[in-house]
Structures are given as C-alpha cells and as structure tokens.
Symmetry: D2
Subunit: 161 residues, 4 copies
C-alpha cells in the first residue's frame, strides 16, 4: 500500500530569500530528497500547510489528525518543525489510533547545505515501516514514543521524558 507523507513545513523546507536575507517557505523539497535518496518505497506526498511549527494552532493539529484518520495508508510520515513536534505527536496519539505515524524534521534547512534532513527522512521512512501502531518522533537517529519526548531548547536535541 505504501506510505503517506504529510508536509507541514518547518525548518526542513525553508529556503533563503536573497533579497531580505531571511529564511522563508516555497515548495516542499520532499520529492527531491526522496529522489536523491533513490527511494523506491511507494509514497503519496501531500502538503497540508507550510508553516513554522511555533505558529501551529490547535486547529492546525486537528486538521493534521483528520488527514491521518482519512488516509488509506496504515503508515504515515509527517514532516514538521522541531519546536512543537512533541506537542503534535501527543495530540495525534490521542486522536489517531490504529496507525503507525512517524513525525520528523530538521535542524538545518535541506537547501542550506549541511542539513540533517536527509538522514532524518531516511530514518523516518525506515521506522514507519517497522514500528508497531503508535505515534513517534524520529530525530537524531532515534525514535521516541509520543508523550515521552521533548526538544532540549539549549542543545537542539531530542531526549526521552
């Protein structure tokens, strides 16, 4: 059946605006990244929103949950800003039973050279195919259960609660 991928924005997909010198969103780089990774896993990519996760509202999270529930696929990967990734995971864990959902992201935009995005995407694609039902955060090569993870704001790393 393949994997459903939902894009919600985050550092993952930020680009650099040459005129303002600020990061901004354009299109998702997911297709390009999967091609670079020579991925042959069947995927269906949908962009739900393109926002900084600090700006994500309860309504946004409900929308994501609804799309997870409606998806035909059993395995779902969500790309997401790292700042509130743990929060969205907790919401999805309550609202979406019976599926394997892996949320991932990046500390550095894919387009800015030395990004962790490709590594994280590879791990998320692997985790979603092998983990039992549940909602997870995949960062730093590790996998955390929803409700048991937080981002350390000082180091930028994810750690178990």
């Amino acid at each position: 059946m393949g994997i459903r991928i939902f894009v919600t924005g985050g550092t993952f997909d930020k680009e650099y605006n040459e005129l303002t010198g600020q990061p901004f969103f354009k299109d998702s780089h997911l297709p390009e990244m999967l091609q670079l990774g020579r991925s042959r896993v069947p995927v269906d990519i949908r962009t739900l929103m393109m926002i900084d996760s600090l700006e994500m509202t309860a309504m946004d999270r409900e929308l994501i949950a609804r799309h997870c529930l409606d998806a035909d696929e059993q395995q779902i990967v969500i790309t997401h800003g790292t700042d509130t990734m743990a929060e969205t995971a907790a919401v999805l864990a309550r609202m979406v039973p019976g599926k394997t959902i892996v949320i991932t992201g990046a500390m550095v935009p894919y387009k800015f050279g030395s990004s962790d995005g490709l590594f994280n995407l590879g791990s998320a694609i692997a985790f979603v195919q092998t983990l039992p039902e549940g909602v997870y955060v995949a960062m730093n090569g590790r996998c955390f259960r929803a409700g048991h993870v937080r981002k350390n704001k000082l180091t930028g790393e994810f750690e178990e609660l």
Copy 2:
C-alpha cells in the same frame, strides 16, 4: 548498549583523486555523516577493510562474520559496496545467528555531492534498532531479508527475489 558499525569500503567512502581523475579510498566518512545527521545513537565504528566490493573475497566475508560474532553489540550496521552486498548478506545469514545486522551502502560517493548515502545511513540506523534478529540489506528506503534480494545491474536498484 548501542550499535556497532563496521566499515568495509564501497562507493560510500570513495573520494575523487584530483591528479588521476579516478575515485579512490581514504578514510571513512561515517563519523562526519553521523555528525551531519545530528545522530545521538551510541555507536562504535570500526573499519575492517576499505575495498571495492567487487574485490571482496570469501576470506574477507569470513573476517566480517567473525567480527559480527565477536561484537558485544546485538545491533550491527555494515557499510559495503553495492555490487556484492547481497552475497555478503547471504554469508552472514549463515554464519551469524542471533543478531540484527543491516548492510547498507551508496550509489554515489558521499563526497560527490548528491549522494544517497546519508539517506541510506539514516534508514539503516533506524532499521537495525527495530527489526528482529536476522540479516538485512537496506537500500532505496527499503529493507530486504538476506537471500531474498539482488541488485539490478541495469537500474542500480535493489529488488526482492
């Protein structure tokens, strides 16, 4: 306990010789790649050999198997040239019971820009933490059981046997 990583060479670690215009081996890029991926999984990296997998002999494979058996870790990732990856997997499946071993590699050297290496490494690190005992090949975002995989020489992709 963490993951043991064995480096055996392959396209993964090739560099470009400016003077001859030919790819060659120097040091492994594994530490640099794990750092780029902000990986926080405890790993212990050992370089067993640095060769093109077309030149890998039965003795080389026995050496790899012995190191897998001797390792304290239960989870082992092996970076390997793609050409004979499936063959090594079959050998390890016979010789190393009771561990989870994931072999991965790359079609394009990490140092040559657009490489699939970082994506594959991310997936291998994830697969090895979640799959049951056995020997696997992780390429193209997918995971194949030893003995049930081959590299398609025309497309460069791995497919199920």
Copy 3:
C-alpha cells in the same frame, strides 16, 4: 607582493543558527573558500569587522579606508555586505588614492549551499590583479567603478549608474 583581503562581514560570511533559525556571523570563510578554489595567489587576510552592511557607519568606513591606506599591498579585495557596498566604494574612492581596490560580496551565504560567493571571489581576485588604480565593485561577473554603481533592490543585481 600579493593581495591584501579585508573581511567586513555581509551575507558572504553568514551562517545558520540551528537553535534560533536565524543567520548569524561566526568566522570568515575566506580561507576555506580560497582553499576550495585552489588559489595560489599570495594573500594576507584580515577581519576588520563582522557586520551586516546595513549597520555600517561612517566611522566603520573610515576605519576601512585607514586600513587600505596603511596596507603595504597595492591590490586590495574587500568582502562586504551587498546593501551598502556602493556607498563604501564611493567613500574609499575619495579617501584612498593610488591603489586598486575591489569590493565584492554574495547574495547567498557561502555556507548555505548554492552561493554566488565563490564565483564572485574568483572574479574579484582576478579583477584586482588586472585593473588600473581605482575603487571597484565586482558583482554578477561584472566590474563597476565606484560612484557609477548601485544595487537594484528589486532584483538584487548590480547595475551601472
């Protein structure tokens, strides 16, 4: 005698802060860029300041001018933010006679992948070795005389006045 290079900051040398998601200054990438370009021109690199050129004051420009006057070298390259590059060029043209000074910069940070910085640096190093005395801006593969150039804020390109 070689070329004196003065670093003043600008987009050229910005990096990405993973924790805040904002560009910031650390060290200059000039030595790394010259190494990447396999440059063998004798250079002496000095960092005078590390600022966004929108924040450059009259006093900053005077400081740059004084360093240009004091330098033993006849040929000087200055890396500079693009926003007020033309203004600094005009100041130096009044204050520093008898030398060849080429100011250059970048629209995208060197560290953010697809940067014009390496191309611009190559052109600046070439222009400074071949142009007669005077102050110039080297951007977009072209060379403009101080006082006869401006940055088009809409396109980000430099054009002749």
Copy 4:
C-alpha cells in the same frame, strides 16, 4: 558585445556514472554555474567537443582555433581539461591574433561537491574582460601567458615557465 564561451570538456564537466562508478561526460554545467554565480555578463555558450584533454588531437585544437577566429566576440573563454591546457594555449597563441582568449578548467568536477570550477570560472570571466589581446591560462586564481605556463603533474597546480 559580450563574451563567447567555448566548452571542450575536461574535468569541469564530468559527472559520476552510478552504475560503472566512473566519471563521464553528459552536458555542460556552464549555464548552471553562471546562474549560480548570478552572472549578468552577456555570454554566448557553444559546446565544441566534450572530451578529456589527454585525448585532444592537433585537429581538435585547429577546430577550436577556427571557432575563435570566426567568433564575432573579441573576448573568449574556453573551458578545457587541465592536462593539456597549456598546449592548447600555445596553439591558439600562434593561430588566433587580435583577441583576448582565457582558458580555464577545474581539478574537481563541478558536480562532485568541493570543486574549484566556480572560482576558476569567476576569475576567467573577470580576466577576459580586463586583459589585453593575447592567450592566457587562468587557474589557481592566477593568470599565465600562453607559452609561459605548465601544469605541475605532482601538485596539480599551474606554474610559470
């Protein structure tokens, strides 16, 4: 009038063949590189051949010379393999009077990440606009007159004869 650019191949334009593991030629990356450099110099790019310069024959060099003579432009940049760049320069110096011709190349393919190609191209574009009539080799940030340059096979660098 702008600059005429002739592409002849060389390391500059080599790509990596994933299936054979060998470098090979496809299309020229010149347009992409000039775009990356935000170059706004009017150029007319023509691919004359796509070969390793070790395989370049006297007839090939005559062909290049004829194209230089026939070009409307006064300023010509030629991308060329580094191994026989000096030899081609000497031939052009004899056969093409009255123009400014700058030959450049790269030690590492543009597509292989850390390439000197973009730096060299920037310098060549600058040198050709500022140097008097004659034939030159632009490498390592420097410019050498035809007949007074050779590639040091041990270091890969160009030096004055």
